[in-house]
């Protein structure tokens, strides 16, 4: 920050503690207490832009020297329906399988050979729960859209999709055959194998806590979750293992990807906007493209005992990503060896973006279905999905 202010004496940066949360975002925006620069998930940037809730960065963004090198798909996440650039990428992740190497070993499984098919996941989960008494496989199942998010991830790996088309004309396809298969997998682990433990209301952060506490064999979350595991839950690095998700042999099967965008609040004047862009360029983007900034960033993080080298997806291209990783090599402090199963497989997997229309509403419609399957032995999967599909379709059609 001091370096930035030195280079830009007319700009004063005031850091604030900020976490993007759905309930507070709109209220903060309306109340004018939103920071000038803030992060939003891929899922929401476009719609927020369409709703006039993010500043138009098109001019300044196009002037960035590396602008033309962005991965087009990544850039599209920050471009609204009128073609305006309303956010720039900070980082991207792919969904991955996180597993506890210690529990694998205790259960007599090879920690270097995580499951490669869902059948193996089910088998390993059973073995872990029987041998160690811990939950073999757990899944986020909270009413805050995380349940729907992870179910969608599973469905993608089986080759299914939650919707067809885009915008208000998109057709909801939540009740597809792959969703039924995914839910039946959960049903089997929960009720037949009893390998999912006894808590079925995990959200994003408490599932991380449970994993860091050593109570979870395997779970699905973003490939960059290790940062939170270290920062918030002080995970013992030696238990951590990261693998790519099992992908079914179907041409549509792939892995769900997402990420974080950096945006500017819509009410700023021109001077503040250009200052904000300078800061985004300096703080978020340069470390990805220039050696000196990358090393500087990594050394600061490492000195503060923050994770450096957590697996992410390239914002530009694989070559640039690999190059940037060689710059920061001396500072990498995450157990890369234990992440090898992920790093070897991920670049061969097809990356599929989240459902484009009414993403959060689609996830929200799926939440109670996942909850029902995990808390009611006799849940009728097909009728629950048909109902969820209706709910999602109504949300899509009304643009919510």
């Amino acid at each position: 920050m001091a370096q930035f202010e030195k280079a830009n004496p007319s700009i004063k940066v005031k850091p604030v503690e900020y976490q993007w949360t759905a309930p507070s975002f709109a209220a903060k925006l309306a109340a004018g207490t939103l920071p000038t620069v803030f992060e939003v998930p891929f899922t929401d940037a476009r719609t927020l832009g369409d709703n006039g809730q993010l500043a138009d960065l098109t001019g300044g963004a196009r002037a960035l020297p590396y602008f033309s090198k962005y991965n087009k798909a990544v850039l599209a996440e920050g471009t609204d329906s009128k073609g305006r650039i309303i956010a720039l990428p900070k980082g991207a992740y792919a969904q991955a399988l996180h597993y506890n190497r210690k529990l694998f070993a205790e259960a007599g499984l090879d920690p270097n050979k995580p499951p490669k098919t869902w059948a193996q996941v089910i088998r390993d989960a059973l073995q872990i729960s029987q041998k160690t008494g811990k939950a073999g496989y757990v899944q986020m199942a909270k009413d805050d859209n995380t349940a729907g998010w992870i179910l969608t991830t599973l469905v993608y790996t089986l080759g299914g999709r939650m919707e067809k088309g885009s915008g208000k004309d998109a057709v909801a396809t939540l009740n597809n055959a792959q969703t039924v298969t995914a839910l039946n997998m959960l049903k089997r682990m929960r009720w037949t194998d009893n390998s999912m433990g006894s808590n079925f209301d995990y959200g994003w952060s408490d599932i991380n806590q449970a994993f860091a506490a050593g109570n979870v064999g395997m779970y699905v979350s973003g490939s960059d979750v290790y940062t939170n595991l270290v920062q918030a839950s002080k995970v013992d690095p030696s238990i951590y293992g990261l693998a790519a998700l099992p992908i079914a042999k179907s041409k549509n099967a792939g892995v769900l990807g997402g990420g974080t965008e950096v945006a500017v609040k819509p009410t700023v004047g021109d001077a503040e906007k250009s200052a904000a862009l300078k800061w985004i360029d300096f703080f978020y983007e340069r470390p990805l493209v220039t050696k000196a900034r990358a090393r500087q960033n990594a050394s600061t993080l490492a000195a503060n005992k923050q994770p450096v080298g957590v697996p992410a997806l390239p914002l530009f291209n694989k070559k640039q990503y690999d190059l940037a990783n060689t710059w920061i090599k001396p500072f990498i402090n995450v157990p890369l060896g234990q992440m090898k199963p992920f790093l070897t497989d991920i670049f061969g997997q097809t990356l599929i973006p989240e459902p484009a229309a009414s993403t959060q509403s689609v996830y929200h419609a799926l939440d109670p279905v996942v909850e029902a399957v995990l808390t009611d032995r006799n849940a009728n999967i097909q009728s629950l999905l048909d109902q969820a599909n209706k709910t999602a379709q109504a949300a899509i059609s009304s643009g919510k």
Binding site: A30, N51, N199, Q360
Partner: protein, 319 residues
């Protein structure tokens, strides 16, 4: 007659005029008007800004479509229609009624029984009062988070461990659609009983002790004393605490929000949680119109219900 009446009227008008003349700003200030106004002003401002302004805004917003950033558009009663057509509304109403019912069956008699027993105690009454009131002092969020660990559904959860000693369980507590709501009521009763106990204890001291003595002379048991003396004497307070509890439980939010977020599978989705979901559940800004519309409907319903309740029980409470 008419003439006299006219004169009288004129006289009255004259007196009024004279009165008005006498009430100059100066006399008003001297009479203490200014200090009264000064004292009442902060309250008026606070009440206006934090109570009446939001109420008026709620009414306005329920007729609008707004994301709080772009200028709002008027949509008439569309928000009300959308709420009434929401398939989640009947579920939320049913769950709220279920919570209110369970709280009435289990939560309502508990403080009364505790108060009667405590007033019967000869020693340590203040200790019991402190123990009963302690849960009210604990911040609700802390209490819920504490109980959440008690409710751990594994065999290592606090409740399941204790019940396990008696070879019971493990029970799913919050992890089952049928167990979740009773679990919330249990915590809520524990958390809220203390305040009502204190009200009952105060009311009990107002009961004429001669009535108990007379009953004792007649050879009444404790139960008979409670049934024939205590309850009839407390009926006014009992009726008020009941309507307060019904209004309170109709607005239950904290427990389902913190314990279950309305899950599993909407089994604990209450009306207030649905309002919250409308406004804040969707990360893209939410539907403030629908949220305010449902809030208004709930407020009107509770007002009408309270009125009907007071009407129906008026003769009973002031007999």
């Amino acid at each position: 007659m008419d003439a006299i009446a006219e004169i009288e009227v004129e006289g009255a008008a004259l007196a009024r005029r004279q009165y008005r003349v006498r009430r100059s700003p100066l006399t008003w200030v001297r009479g203490g008007g200014l200090s009264t106004l000064l004292f009442v002003l902060p309250r008026l401002l606070a009440f206006g800004a934090f109570s009446w302004y939001p109420i008026v805004r709620t009414v306005v917003m329920s007729l609008q479509h707004t994301n709080l950033v772009e200028s709002p558009t008027w949509v008439g009663f569309d928000n009300f229609r959308a709420v009434l057509n929401d398939p989640l509304l009947p579920i939320a109403v049913k769950n709220t009624a279920y919570f209110a019912f369970l709280a009435l069956i289990f939560g309502y008699p508990v403080p009364l029984a505790a108060a009667v027993l405590m007033s019967e105690a000869r020693r340590g009454r203040s200790l019991y009062s402190v123990l009963a009131y302690l849960p009210v002092v604990i911040p609700p969020v802390v209490a819920v988070l504490l109980w959440k660990t008690f409710y751990d559904a594994g065999s290592v959860g606090v409740f399941n461990t204790v019940l396990g000693w008696g070879h019971l369980g493990p029970y799913p507590w919050l992890q089952s659609q049928s167990w979740a709501m009773p679990s919330l009521v249990l915590e809520s009763t524990w958390a809220n009983a203390g305040a009502t106990v204190i009200i009952y204890l105060a009311a009990l001291t107002a009961v004429n002790p001669e009535l108990y003595e007379a009953a004792a002379v007649d050879g009444a048991t404790l139960w008979q004393k409670v049934w024939h003396v205590t309850l009839p004497q407390l009926r006014g307070v009992l009726l008020v605490t009941m309507i307060l509890q019904i209004i309170g439980t109709a607005q239950v939010f904290l427990e389902p929000f913190l314990f279950t977020s309305g899950g599993p599978a909407n089994a604990t989705l209450t009306v207030l949680l649905l309002i919250y979901d409308y406004a804040f559940g969707n990360s893209l800004g939410g539907d403030y119109g629908m949220a305010t519309a449902l809030s208004l409907m709930l407020a009107v319903f509770l007002a009408l219900f309270s009125l009907a309740y007071l009407r129906a029980t008026r003769s009973w409470s002031t007999e």
